[in-house]
């Protein structure tokens, strides 16, 4: 049993020897255009069946709604009016003034002369779209992996978290264990479209892996072949960046500093802090508003961090139960 919380190198913690550097994504939502190329590329590469009926949801230009068993990249669309934009800028500024920890290289502003730079915020638009491609966080301390009883979920040499399709028995514990609501048990009920025009839709190709837990593998198969994950490869704006985790965090920090220097204080990072409740995430995001606006939890905590204490409490309860039973019999005999 490795570490349950706090900063660590997950691959080393999982006792990989000589492992490659930890891999991860940096999703820069400030340049996402919501084209969903990542969703499509992911589906194609991973043979994921259709989710839903391709209708737009009744809220936004979103037709998948959330990450799930068959949707491993999900592009969130948020429409906001001016009031909300102002609020986002304020909450971002509050974050800056908190003096959040700056781990890693200092912001590039350090050796620049900023006196010339115009830091008045750009005009606040009266309307904006937020688009963000969400994905499994590949947590340093992954709730899903910790609670999986079969060992189907495992930590790869790249520090990512992957389900082994042939081991999982679909117990569903991981679904409740994930603080981000990512992993899901695949149910059938999706109608697969025939691959060929001539094929009848009435006999759709079977949905693979029904009944077992499914989520982003960070394209484990491609990583082994030294390839970029399908989504990052397909992203036309480089909103999804892929690389060594350290490098991703560095890039993210540089980018947020750049946006702050332009007065866009609403920019903030999500998952780049290894002191947070999940030990930092493998997928780092740059967001332009509070995380919950994108459907992300504002203060996730891996449940297993409290497990030793829970076992102790359960032990006390067991002792109490045995004592009660003993008392019932002892007094009964007297």
């Amino acid at each position: 049993m490795g570490q349950l919380s706090g900063p660590t190198d997950p691959s080393a913690d999982a006792r990989w020897e000589d492992h490659p550097p930890r891999k991860g994504f940096f999703t820069d939502t400030s340049i996402c255009i919501g084209c969903k190329a990542c969703e499509v590329a992911c589906k194609e590469w991973n043979h994921n069946p259709q989710d839903g009926n391709l209708e737009l949801l009744k809220s936004s230009y979103d037709n998948t709604g959330a990450l799930g068993a068959s949707t491993w990249r999900h592009v969130a669309f948020v429409e906001q009016g001016q009031e909300r934009v102002v609020q986002a800028r304020e909450s971002g500024r509050a974050l800056v003034s908190l003096g959040m920890p700056a781990i890693g290289p200092p912001a590039p502003a350090a050796d620049q002369d900023l006196s010339e730079v115009d830091t008045t915020p750009p005009d606040t638009p009266d309307f904006r779209w937020l688009m963000s491609s969400d994905v499994c966080k590949h947590c340093t301390h992954a709730g899903c992996l910790d609670v999986c009883p079969t060992g189907a979920l495992f930590r790869t040499e790249f520090g990512t978290v992957v389900v082994q399709d042939d081991v999982c028995n679909g117990c569903g514990t991981c679904v409740a264990g994930c603080p981000f609501g990512v992993i899901e048990r695949r149910s059938d009920g999706t109608v697969a479209v025939a691959a060929q025009r001539e094929e009848p839709h009435a006999q759709p190709p079977a949905v693979p892996n029904v009944g077992i837990a499914q989520k982003c593998t960070l394209c484990y198969d491609r990583l082994i072949a030294d390839e970029t994950p399908a989504c990052a490869k397909a992203c036309p704006t480089t909103s999804i960046k892929f690389g060594d985790h350290d490098h991703m965090v560095e890039t993210a920090r540089a980018r947020v500093a750049e946006l702050h220097a332009q007065g866009l204080t609403e920019a903030r990072l999500y998952g780049a802090n290894e002191l947070d409740g999940v030990g930092g995430t493998g997928s780092v995001f740059l967001l332009l508003d509070e995380p919950e606006v994108y459907g992300l939890p504002p203060d996730p905590r891996v449940p297993t961090a409290d497990l030793p204490r829970m076992y102790r409490r359960a032990g006390m309860a067991v002792a109490g139960m045995v004592a009660a039973a003993a008392l019932a019999f002892l007094r009964g005999r007297a």
């Binding site: 349950l4 936004s60 959330a66 429409e79 009031e83 974050l95 800056v96 908190l98 959040m100 920890p101 309307f127 609670v147 999986c148 009883p149 079969t150 081991v167 999982c168 028995n169 679909g170 117990c171 569903g172 679904v175 409740a176 264990g177 981000f180 609501g181 990512v182 009944g211 077992i212 903030r268 990072l269 999500y270 802090n273 002191l275 947070d276 409740g277 999940v278 967001l287 509070e290 919950e292 606006v293 939890p297 504002p298 203060d299 449940p303 409290d306 497990l307 204490r309 829970m310 409490r313 359960a314 309860a317 109490g320 139960m321 009660a324 039973a325 008392l327 019932a328 019999f329 009964g332």
Partner: protein, 362 residues
């Protein structure tokens, strides 16, 4: 939110939940005359991604809730069986052993049925993982079933006047039945309590928030249910300890439940009082109280004892189903995830702890 001429073609947006009600809803700040007053304190507003849940509920059906109940009954019964074995109460011993096996078998079937791939249920035992309460629980269940099975088969053999086709194994069975009863009792408490850890060790808001006291609620519920069952099956002469255990269980559950709700964040405790879950838990409390009173006042009357036992069983089942449902519904509403998390983050920041947020400025 937008002001475009095409807006009328859009489907209506689901109303976003705002928590402005307490401060006089309808007070609009954007009068449109440019003299908009900036609020000094931003209003507490609950935002989410179009009302969609943040965490996912476990894909567990009523089978799992039933297992929570049956596992408790089995565990408590094994303890009563051992008590009967050690204090010379053969009827109590026999009945408790048989009900332990029946409950644990039904429970195991329910668990397997609930798997996405039931044919792979044995994968549960391909490894032992301390970080997974489900794995630990599977081993507890297996170990318990072994002992409970042997003890109960010995009883069944006796009941049928040695008609089971055991052949030369009969003496072996008779020799190990005592130790088997002890072994089952050893795993009885853990069997009743681990399910609380299983629920507590999730990101499901209400279960996770209940993690400190849930084990106490569950073992109490197990005690009162198994005692109630013994009061139904066993004549009052031998059921004295069961009556006492029932009383302890009722007291324990009432106290543990109250402490639990008191210590939980009020938002996270809300699902325990609302909807179906709330109704079940209210009825569970009433039935437990009635069953407990019946046991204390009229437990020496066979009919009253049986009725009380039935009330206790029902109370325990309702407790398990209620807690189970409350958790699932807390996962389906983003409010229960987001609000408590925002509050605890704000509380830490107010206390000067600013280094552990997942959101950072750089």
């Amino acid at each position: 939110m937008t002001h475009s001429e095409f807006d009328s073609f859009r489907p209506t947006e689901p109303a976003r939940r705002r928590r402005t009600d307490r401060r006089g809803a309808g007070r609009r700040r954007d009068g449109g005359d440019g003299s908009r007053e900036m609020p000094m304190v931003p209003e507490a507003e609950f935002t989410s991604y179009y009302g969609r849940p943040v965490v996912k509920p476990a894909p567990w059906g009523d089978d799992v809730a039933a297992y929570l109940f049956l596992g408790g009954v089995a565990g408590g019964s094994a303890l009563l069986g051992l008590g009967g074995q050690l204090t010379g109460r053969p009827t109590l011993r026999r009945n408790a052993r048989v009900t332990a096996l029946a409950a644990v078998s039904l429970g195991a079937v329910a668990l397997v049925r609930d798997l996405g791939r039931p044919e792979r249920f044995l994968h549960m035992l391909r490894t032992f993982k301390l970080t997974s309460p489900m794995s630990v629980g599977s081993w507890i269940l297996s170990a318990f079933s072994a002992g409970a099975g042997v003890a109960a088969v010995a009883e069944i053999d006796r009941m049928s006047s040695a008609r089971l086709p055991l052949g030369p194994l009969r003496p072996v069975l008779q020799a190990v039945e005592g130790p088997a009863g002890v072994e089952a009792a050893l795993f009885a408490g853990p069997l009743a309590a681990y399910t609380a850890v299983l629920l507590g060790d999730t990101a499901t808001p209400t279960w996770n928030a209940a993690r400190e006291e849930l084990p106490f609620v569950f073992v109490s519920s197990a005690a009162l249910a198994s005692a109630g069952l013994a009061m139904i099956t066993t004549p009052v002469r031998e059921a004295g300890p069961a009556r006492k255990l029932a009383a302890f269980g009722v007291m324990g559950e009432m106290v543990a439940m109250r402490v639990m709700e008191h210590r939980m964040d009020p938002v996270e405790a809300e699902p325990l009082h609302q909807g179906r879950a709330g109704a079940m838990l209210r009825w569970s409390e009433r039935l437990a109280a009635a069953g407990g009173l019946g046991t204390l006042l009229g437990g020496r009357n066979r009919a009253v004892a049986a009725a009380s036992g039935l009330a206790l069983l029902a109370a325990s089942a309702l407790t398990r189903f209620g807690v189970f449902e409350a958790g699932l519904s807390s996962a389906k509403d983003p409010r229960y995830t987001i609000e408590p998390q925002k509050n605890r983050l704000a509380a830490r920041r107010a206390a000067g702890i600013t280094g552990d947020s997942i959101t950072t400025a750089g």
